[in-house]
Each structure stands twice: as C-alpha cells, then as structure tokens.
Amino acid sequence: MKAQNGWLLLLAGTLVVGSVLIGSHRKGAEFAGSDGQAMEIVAAIQPGYQPWFRFVWEPPTEIASGLFALQAALGAGVLGYYLGFRRGRARSRQQDRVDAGH
C-alpha cells in the first residue's frame, strides 16, 4: 500500500508540475479558468446574450482567493483529521497486540 501510494502521489505531482511547464509554453497562456473560456464561446454563438441574474454577493478578488483557500483548508482539515485518526488507531491496536503477545 505504502509503496503504491508513494508512486501514485509522485505521479500526480509530476502531472500537475508538467502541466504548468507545458501549459506556460503555449502562446497567450494565462491559466485562465476554462469556465471563462466557455462563457466566451457563449458570447460568440449568441453575441447579444446577457446574464439575466447577478451573483447574490461577489467577493472582491483578494477576498475570493482567501475564501477559496478556506474551502480547501476546511476540506483538507477534515480529511486529514480522519486519516490521522484512523492511522493512529490502527497503530495503537497493533501495539496492543504486540504487548499482549509478550
């Protein structure tokens, strides 16, 4: 399990880093969101289209990046708590078994 996971994580990391390297060699690469590009296609197909509903609340750019970080932190926090809790419990059970054996 450990070896396989190590390789998988390395591969995932390589893919992301590789994507930046390959992507930034492209002309006009700004790493804009693909959602924005899709909306540009909408504008090309139907030039007159105006969104008929505005965001209830739109955070200023700097605040938005913080909120994205908050979302990631909340997710990573809960996930990390679970994984750590589980691993710790499995370890201590293993230890108990070793102790009981003596």
């Binding site: 998988l8 992507g23 609340w57 994205f68």
Partner: protein
Amino acid sequence: MHIAEGFLPPLHAAAWTAISLPFVIFSARRVTRLMHDQPQTKLLLAASGAFAFVLSALKLPSVTGSCSHATGAGLGAILFGPSVMALLGTIVLLFQALLLAHGGLTTLGANVFSMAIVGPWVAYGLLRGTQNLNAPLAVSVFLAAMLGDMATYTVTAGQLALAFPDPASGVAGSFIKFIGVFAPTQLPLAVVEGLLTVVIVNFLREYSSDELQRLKFLPEILTAEARL
C-alpha cells in the same frame, strides 16, 4: 468549471433544477437514514465530502495553458453509493455559489446534475462494470473517478450546447465547441483525481477495513484481500 450565474436562460435553469431536485431530496433521505442506521460511518462520510471540498477548491493548471478543477465526487460514490453524493455535491456547489461567486444559484440545478448526479453514477457504474470484468481494484477505482470527472464536464458541455445551439451547425456543432474547450483542459486533471482517489481507497483498505465492512455498499469489493 461550473456554469456561471445567469448563463442559462430561465427556462433551462428551471428545467435542470426540476430534474435535480428529486435526486437531492432522495439523497438527503438516504444520508439521514445512513446516519441513523450506521452512525459509525459518519466520519468517513464527512471525509468523503471533505475530499470533494478540497478538490473542487483547487484550480489546477492544465497542459492547455488554462486551468480548471477536479470534482472529487467519485470517492463518495464508490464508498457510499452514487445517491449519497447528490447532497454532498449540492453543499459544495452552494458554498461556491454563495461565497465565491463561482457557479451560481440559477445554474445550481444544472451544475448539481452534472457534478453531483451524473459524475457519481458514471463512477459507480464503471466501478461495478470493471469489477465484473475482474479488473484489479486500483484500476477500477482509477477509471471510475477519472471518467466520472470527465462525464461531469461532458454533461456541462451538453447543457451549454442545448441552451446555445450554434446558428449554423446546431446543438451538435455547439457541443463540439464547448467540449473542445473542456476536454483537453480537463483530461490531465481527471487523471490526477483518479490517482488521488486510488491513494485514499488504498489507505482506507489498510487502516479502515472495519469501517469498510460496515458499509452496505460494495463491502465485498473494497475489503477483498485477494486483489489489490
């Protein structure tokens, strides 16, 4: 990528909301029942939701020079069954629509349909299908999570194409334009999502086997010692 606020005409927005709503209600009831019947799995459910939360917050760069994010919806679908993800995905999408101006309330129904309904069902179907073909579990999980992610973006392209058919080439021509933007950007990200989902499932099989056995869903697949 989610369809931005106001970018689906009112009729389309209403139709997708009407289609998604029953799935979300059913999902909420499933989750309530799951919490009641198997309170021990609460933490694992929270962790599956958290996985979707992290992955959909991270805008990752792609080879195309633009960026997008994964969905993280495959893991929960593999562990708890696809219907549970409709609720979890809706929570993620609501958070982003209300606080991050990403996605939107009028397009929530359409985005829930692609990310929280179709993606998880495709992932689940692929897991089942490839397991029936005796594929190694890691391969099954990888394909399920990766293609579930791609399915989400394919549906999004379809939804946009239906709303904005090309004047010359119609819905099909428009679909090709949208998928042409999404697919190349999404592909490497979907591979990353597939790899990370395998990592988590490997971990669970090692350290959470008691919890996996309690899941009514596919315990025989996830806890089988023979295939890794």
